[in-house]
Symmetry: C2
Subunit: 284 residues, 2 copies
């Protein structure tokens, strides 16, 4: 049996590329004095799918293999991690090479030729619209006390944000249990990295500890809602607000969107039927 | 003399498309009570350059004509506003039609086929790198007291952010004088709208009131620094921080990058030679 006839469901081989997440620099403060400061690293990562260049992402670089996989999944270029043979990230050449078992099965004609940076990444809306129409979100509900635990867990998490700011964070919970917390200079990268982790690690169906819940420090825009839905997550929580298109999309999908979540306070923008109100009093 | 032989330097004809900037919605708070909330509008705007589809931007829609022009300038698809005959925005069909005097002069082959959303928009880095190598920033310097006035002006400005959050703001100053303040669901849209205004209104060379200074509520990423440089602005101010690539680019360009600006406090990340320190004491 050769490598090429390996079982389709085998887990992809992943490199373990690591790089410094903070960059030290000297700045001048308002009194003209020099201060040493840590700022988040930011580097270009060019994704190749079966040797075809897809996109260049500007990323912190914490989990580049998950990012590469999740990006391809969330853009509709991969449907399952099992299609992938290997993901090899090499920071020397700032490249992530994703190799599939069956290159011809990849709809490369859909590849969006985009190059992105900063806090957003853009997406090929037509492709995503088609995918979204096929989404059926699970029957997840969330108790108010679990939501409060989630918000408290994020607040207590030891984050790069607390150390040097200028990053967004996303966390995935199974009920009240934090599964992973990813930070990046782009909030879409953080979310895509979680999508990559889910594609690799999550069994189909609901997790044991409770429903999947996505937490993000960023606003709930249409892209964030789209990606959550594509990841099969029916409940999203943000400490920030929501835009109009994000709201309209969440309502059309029946996705539970919680914004302005701090302490035990929050606003439920959409999908209130998924929340179990327990009459908890607000912190003051 | 026909329309088509009109002088090249004539100002483009612009539509005055307007639309609601806020959207009212009912949400549930943590006690289960209904609250009426205003959230920022968000709508798709597809840009056509001489009937060629370029990009779809998700925008608040405050100044769509400036946004269309500034986007094309900042992507290197237009070099001067004088090349443009008209910009017509029609919200009914969510389109901005930009018509030039000489379509053949537009390097449409450079057009990035990107579709974007949320807070970022991406850009064609190769094209921008080429443009950046031609940038020579003006000899602008800024007094510390002027910086404090700028920060205070932004704080006092009556913004949509104060009303409903979830938007980024960008302001352009000539010295201490605010020329315009633009908000958008994407901070890149806000910056591009300012670029469009500058292309239409700004004469070449330094303004009368002092150097051009760009203020942004968002982080100073590589894209923000790139666009400021392309707009000929040598001094950028943010109330947020800076990423590593933004810092490296600012230093290579000799651009003065001020972050964490609140009250009279700030950090100068780059281009300290452009700042005139005046020993102002910090607010406590």
């Amino acid at each position: 049996m050769t490598d090429t006839s390996a079982p389709r469901r085998a887990r992809p081989r992943l490199s373990q590329a690591r790089s410094a997440l903070v960059h030290s620099t000297a700045v001048l403060d308002h009194t003209g004095q020099t201060r040493n400061l840590e700022i988040p690293a930011e580097r270009a990562l060019t994704l190749y799918l079966d040797k075809r260049e897809i996109v260049t992402l500007m990323t912190l670089g914490a989990q580049p293999e998950w990012l590469a996989l999740g990006y391809l999944c969330n853009q509709g270029l991969l449907s399952h991690a099992s299609a992938v043979q290997s993901i090899t990230v090499d920071w020397e050449v700032q490249a992530a090479a994703v190799t599939t078992h069956s290159p011809q099965a990849i709809p490369v004609s859909l590849a969006p030729r985009i190059v992105t940076s900063g806090c957003g990444q853009g997406s090929a809306l037509d492709t995503l619209d088609t995918l979204l129409r096929q989404v059926r979100l699970p029957e997840a509900v969330l108790e108010q006390s679990t939501l409060a635990t989630i918000v408290a867990s994020v607040r207590q998490h030891d984050s790069l944000y607390k150390r040097c700011g200028s990053v967004h964070g996303c966390a995935l919970f199974a009920g009240a249990q934090m599964q992973l917390y990813i930070e990046d200079v782009g909030r879409h990268n953080a979310l895509d990295s979680i999508a990559g982790w889910m594609a690799l690690h999550a069994s189909t169906g609901a997790p044991a500890g409770g429903p999947w819940v996505l937490y993000t420090t960023g606003r709930l825009t249409s892209e964030m809602v789209t990606k959550a839905a594509l990841m099969g997550v029916a409940i999203v929580v943000s400490r920030s607000g929501m835009t109009q298109m994000g709201l309209e999309l969440a309502r059309s999908l029946g996705l539970c969107a919680i914004g302005r979540a701090t302490g035990t306070r929050f606003l439920c923008f959409s999908g209130a039927q998924r929340l179990v109100w327990q009459g908890l009093s607000a912190e003051h």
